[in-house]
């Protein structure tokens, strides 16, 4: 019972991260039609920013977190302006450009952090929230979950209650029709990748005190984000969040009761099954040509 309850808690925490990872990827794909392979590296940059600003230069965690978000947002915006926009009509070009960014960011991380062991950041919120001695959650994780939920709530509000959000959704549904309605494609694309970058930066900054930071940490992120995106339904934000939580439960429970390797395999297997049985994913919509 203790393991079961602890696994439920672990699942919700993982679900928060998986959501942050996947939603940014979905947003860029939905609005811009670009598969951003560098998304995991944007998360990595967020984590490295915390290591540099907070752990190395002593900036308090919250300002460092804000700066990490700002930095990754800026990188995202620059990617849109100089890499994705010129290749707007060429989805393969955008994908290849994103692969280039992936390698550049990994090398940049090596340059900034050196090639020694993975970097560690001491948690700014130390201690553990204990319920009845058998259910334990570190305060840092509680903080991360709270911020993740708040960020996703803000995103939902932005997308459903603001004009800019409506523009994003309109572009995701039909770019040409949106343009004909007077929506500025360039500006909306920049906002989409800016929001995606902000979420990636936030995820990295939140993860930094809880994980090992190294230039290749983005691999996990992108694989998980792809699984969640495909299972949730490509282009569906609510599908991504739902799939993230479901996948987190599956991954956590299989890891706890069987093995981590089987958990990863199950995730990939489910992704393949979804592609075969329901290619639109849980909440994706079929699009007619």
């Amino acid at each position: 019972m203790e393991l079961f309850l602890q696994s439920v808690v672990n699942s919700f925490i993982q679900g928060g991260f998986f959501s942050l990872w996947a939603v940014g990827l979905v947003l860029v794909f939905g609005v811009m039609g670009v598969v951003n392979f560098a998304h995991g590296e944007l998360v990595m940059v967020g984590a490295y920013s915390i290591w540099v600003l907070h752990a190395q230069y002593g900036l308090p965690y919250i300002p460092a977190l804000c700066m990490a978000v700002l930095l990754v947002t800026t990188i995202g915006v620059l990617m849109e302006r100089f890499l994705f926009r010129p290749k707007r009509e060429d989805p393969l070009g955008g994908l290849i450009n994103s692969l280039g960014v992936l390698f550049i960011l990994q090398v940049a991380a090596h340059v900034v952090g050196g090639t020694g062991p993975a970097k560690q950041v001491a948690p700014p919120f130390s201690g553990t929230f204990v319920i009845e001695e058998f259910l334990r959650v570190p305060y840092q994780r509680l903080f991360a979950v709270a911020v993740s939920v708040a960020a996703l709530g803000l995103l939902w509000f932005f997308l459903t209650r603001t004009r800019l959000g409506w523009s994003l959704r309109a572009m995701a549904q039909d770019r040409e029709a949106a343009a004909l309605q007077g929506i500025n494609i360039n500006r909306t694309s920049m906002i989409a990748i800016g929001v995606s970058g902000a979420l990636a930066g936030l995820a990295g900054a939140l993860m930094a005190p809880m994980t090992s930071i190294h230039p290749h940490m983005g691999h996990n992120v992108i694989i998980t984000a792809f699984i969640v995106t495909i299972v949730g339904g490509i282009g569906s934000l609510s599908g991504a969040v739902l799939a993230a939580v479901l996948y987190a439960f599956l991954h956590t429970f299989v890891t706890a009761y069987i093995s981590g390797t089987v958990a990863t395999m199950s995730g990939l297997l489910i992704m393949v099954l979804v592609l075969i049985v329901k290619p639109t994913g849980i909440m994706g919509k079929r699009v007619s040509e």
């Binding site: 672990n10 090639t115 694989i223």
Partner: protein
């Protein structure tokens, strides 16, 4: 008293004696400001390092190059090393294979054919397996940190320093002696054959010999983003000892142990980043955490125990130039370099074959923690690994300190069969 060939060898070619002379010479040269005698006439011998300097495995490559450069610079500053009738300056030639087998072959050939190195130091695993056919044909002296790379056909491959993961038996043996109340253990390790499973088999054997029951072994991949579920699962078995058989993820795992309220003993293969662990947990929580790799400013690395020149000075020099990049290989590759010098002096030659012959002729070869023995035939079919004493390290008041030296060789003499049984149970190659 009769002098055996070994004792004569050790007396004439002791590494400590050579380095003592070298360091004294260096001190004299530096203090008098005189021109370095013989430098103009010195030849150069290149030693190769075909190692990962980028990528995930870089921490087990690059610090070793830095360490070798420090040792080589010290030797060269003192006038070089006399081998046969010549004096040689030591030059390191390196190649970054990024732990890629194809690049490893390219790097090995480049070092041998273009750089004319006389020995190639490597990390081990698949990158060594990939060069074996060519290296053995070329009769190139090659070193590995993983003695499990040795096969009956790898005559020119030796493991003279780290005998990963055999030394782990000493930590378990020490723990069982000091904490007899520990009756059960859980092991966590990576699921690879090169490091994780070798280490798990060794720990399984060590725990069996120590009378500690292993209640669970978790093999995880290299894609774990969150160790909370794995640690929860292992702790649900209520182990007295939590054992980390590989070191890639020690910090996040120990952090989880801390948050999930583990109260037992922690034993780990390595814990180079223990200061990070303390920062993420507490000094009290990691008190007594046991592992196998000392800091080199440890006062227990005395000349009678450690066959390494001025460990504290080396530690200071490394951390001055490469702060934050220390890992165990920082001293392991230099230790192999010193093994080579000793053997080359004994052989009176820098060529790989005579140097290897001199190495193998020494039945009590120098080892970082005292004289060792050639071993390996029982497990891998060839006595090409040097095993000797190894330190047991534990955290005391926030600092890693050597608790005791124990003999890996003695343990293997008594328990090689148990180890072999556990290796075979995990489908690992044995003879």
């Amino acid at each position: 008293m009769t002098k055996t060939p070994t004792s004569v060898f050790r007396q004439r070619f002791s590494r400590r004696r050579f380095l003592g002379t070298t360091l004294a010479g260096m001190g004299a040269a530096l203090t008098t400001g005189l021109p370095k005698v013989g430098l103009a006439d010195a030849k150069t011998v290149r030693l190769g390092m075909n190692i990962p300097m980028t990528g995930d495995y870089a921490p087990w490559g690059l610090p070793g190059l830095y360490g070798c450069e420090i040792v080589a610079a010290n030797i060269n500053a003192a006038g070089g090393v006399k081998i046969g009738n010549d004096t040689y300056m030591i030059e390191m030639a390196s190649y970054d294979h990024g732990y890629d087998t194809e690049k490893s072959v390219q790097g090995f050939k480049k070092l041998v054919l273009e750089d004319d190195v006389k020995m190639v130091m490597m990390l081990g695993g698949s990158t060594v397996a990939s060069i074996i056919p060519w290296a053995m044909r070329k009769k190139m002296l090659t070193t590995t940190l993983l003695p499990s790379d040795i096969t009956p056909d790898t005559e020119y491959l030796v493991a003279t320093c780290e005998s990963h993961p055999l030394y782990n038996v000493t930590g378990v043996e020490w723990l069982a002696d000091k904490f007899p109340e520990a009756k059960t253990a859980a092991i966590i390790t990576t699921n690879d054959i090169e490091y994780g499973k070798q280490s798990a088999a060794t720990y399984n054997a060590a725990f069996e010999v120590a009378g500690i029951d292993v209640v669970d072994v978790n093999f995880h991949g290299f894609d774990v983003a969150d160790f909370a579920p794995i640690v929860s699962s292992l702790l649900s078995k209520k182990p007295d000892v939590f054992c980390m058989a590989t070191d890639v993820y020690t910090t996040p795992i120990i952090e989880q142990l801390f948050h999930q309220g583990f109260k037992g003993k922690i034993v780990s293969c390595t814990c180079d980043g223990y200061l990070d662990v303390i920062a993420k947990t507490s000094k009290e929580f990691v008190e007594g955490l046991t592992f196998q790799f000392p800091d080199f400013d440890d006062p227990a690395l005395t000349p009678d125990k450690a066959d390494f020149p001025d460990p504290a000075g080396f530690d200071a020099a490394f951390n001055k130039d490469h702060a934050g990049e220390w890992s165990a290989v920082a001293w392991e590759y230099p230790s192999i370099l010193l093994n080579w010098i000793e053997a080359a002096q004994a052989a009176g030659s820098i060529e790989p074959e005579p140097v290897l012959s001199a190495m193998k002729a020494n039945s009590s070869p120098a080892h970082t923690f005292g004289p060792g023995k050639w071993w390996g035939a029982d497990l891998w079919g060839l006595d090409n690994a040097v095993v000797g004493n190894w330190p047991v390290v534990a955290i005391n008041d926030g600092k890693a300190r050597i608790q005791e030296y124990r003999s890996v060789y003695d343990w293997l003499q008594n328990n090689a069969g148990v180890l072999k049984k556990h290796m075979q149970a995990l489908d690992l190659r044995t003879v």
